[in-house]
Amino acid sequence: MSVSDAAARVEPGSFRDPGNRVFHRRGEVLRGLDERSAGDWRALAASDFFRDLLDAGKLCGTEELVPTPVDLPWAAVLRHERIPVVSHPYEWSGGMLRDAALLHLEILRSALVAGFTTKDGSAYNLQWRGASPVFIDVGSFEPARDGEPWAGYRQFCQTLLYPLLLQAHLGLDFQPWLRARIDGIEPDQMRRLFSGARRRHAGVLTHVHLHGALQARHAQASTSDVRAQLRDAGYSRELVLATARGLEKLVRRLDARPGPSHWSDYQRTCAYSVPDRSTKESFVDRAAAVTMPGLALDLGANDGRYARIAARHAEYVVAVEQDPTVVDVLYRALRDEGERRILPLVMDLADPSPGGGWRSVERAAFADRARSDLVLALALVHHLAIGRNVPLDAVLDQFATLTTPGGTLVVEFVHPEDPMARRLLANKPDGLFPDYRREAFEALLVARGRIVRRVELPSGTRTLYQVVIRG
């Protein structure tokens, strides 16, 4: 089925289940349902568990458009709450992925008790309101059929459980694995990583080795035959519940507390003087107060100090940081505070998330999701320009691209004489960056916008700029 209305834009990430499709129209997020899915939706809408999950904020806000718009080719159309900024599981920290997995299992359990199930079990079923996960795939619910295991189990393993096992048991960052494979990590790959004594780690023998072995053994068997055989052998809904509970218990154990990392002590070790810091804080506060941004983006957010300042005036803030450990510490702090307006994300700004999946549009690139009214780039330029050899003009182009036309960029330039810049320059041949000068930087800023405020920090080796980016 297709959306015929010219004003409707189909969400490119929503095509796997042909029974329902998400699209955008007149600023609203809508979901079209075919006859069968509309029937499932009406049963769901009448259930108590669905209402309870909605009221608890665990599901994205959903209501049916009544009457169904006649210009749309669907049996029913739902309107969803808008998620401020869509993020992908490979941009989440370990704690975020774990909490997302726990929410998915909680929702599955509540559904099963009420006679429903979820058709799938993907990490992409979840999004965030700040540091609070939310289940968005309302089209995933359907009435449970007796004697059938959970259809989403494999997806759950590949996109949620296995990444968590990698992180918790092997100390590997899972993000590159998920970014490279839209369907997650296959059991046979996991088996190779968890050979020998590693088999003894919690959850590995069954969910990895046995799962992989049975997949290989039954690769030719049709799932409908296997479903019928399982039903005949007495598989029951209680067993699906037991699986969900067992997974929940396992995921709770996979709580890899963040250890120390290079960036985790950055605020303490980066040698900011107290006057520098307070000057910077008031600069950011004033820029945010003047801009009153709908969306603010803090690039290189570290412990989130400036993201929090921006959040005093912004409706929503995305705090991007490349070190997963630092993001995890920030996430846990925000979560424990119940913060719902600051979203922490893992991302290397020299390698931001590209478009992924089918035709590279199924998962939108970061630049297409995060364009903001206010962009903070504090103590960042030297890391990209000197540390990663990105030309200064290209660094500023990226910042400008992430800023809405007419929006504000707050950027800090660390002079070549600054101790931090000197430390980075010491690792590179002399004279490699002749253009890394304040005058050259200012000229590049002027080419992209209007400098409305400039403050030199008391240390004398760092300058802050507030720039209105040209439309």
């Binding site: 959970w150 997806q155 393993c157 799962h211 997949q215 007495g234 067993l239």
Partner: protein
Amino acid sequence: MTHLAYLDAGSGSLIVQAVVGGVAGAAVAVKLYWRRLMARFRRQPTDRS
């Protein structure tokens, strides 16, 4: 009638759920394999003919 989901759940991924479902699940798995084994023996004479 068996209803198929839009997602290929994977035959092995369905069977392993019996095993991870505790004692009751393991009993289902044993029964499943016993029946498959019996079915194979029952089929054999006709296979040879």
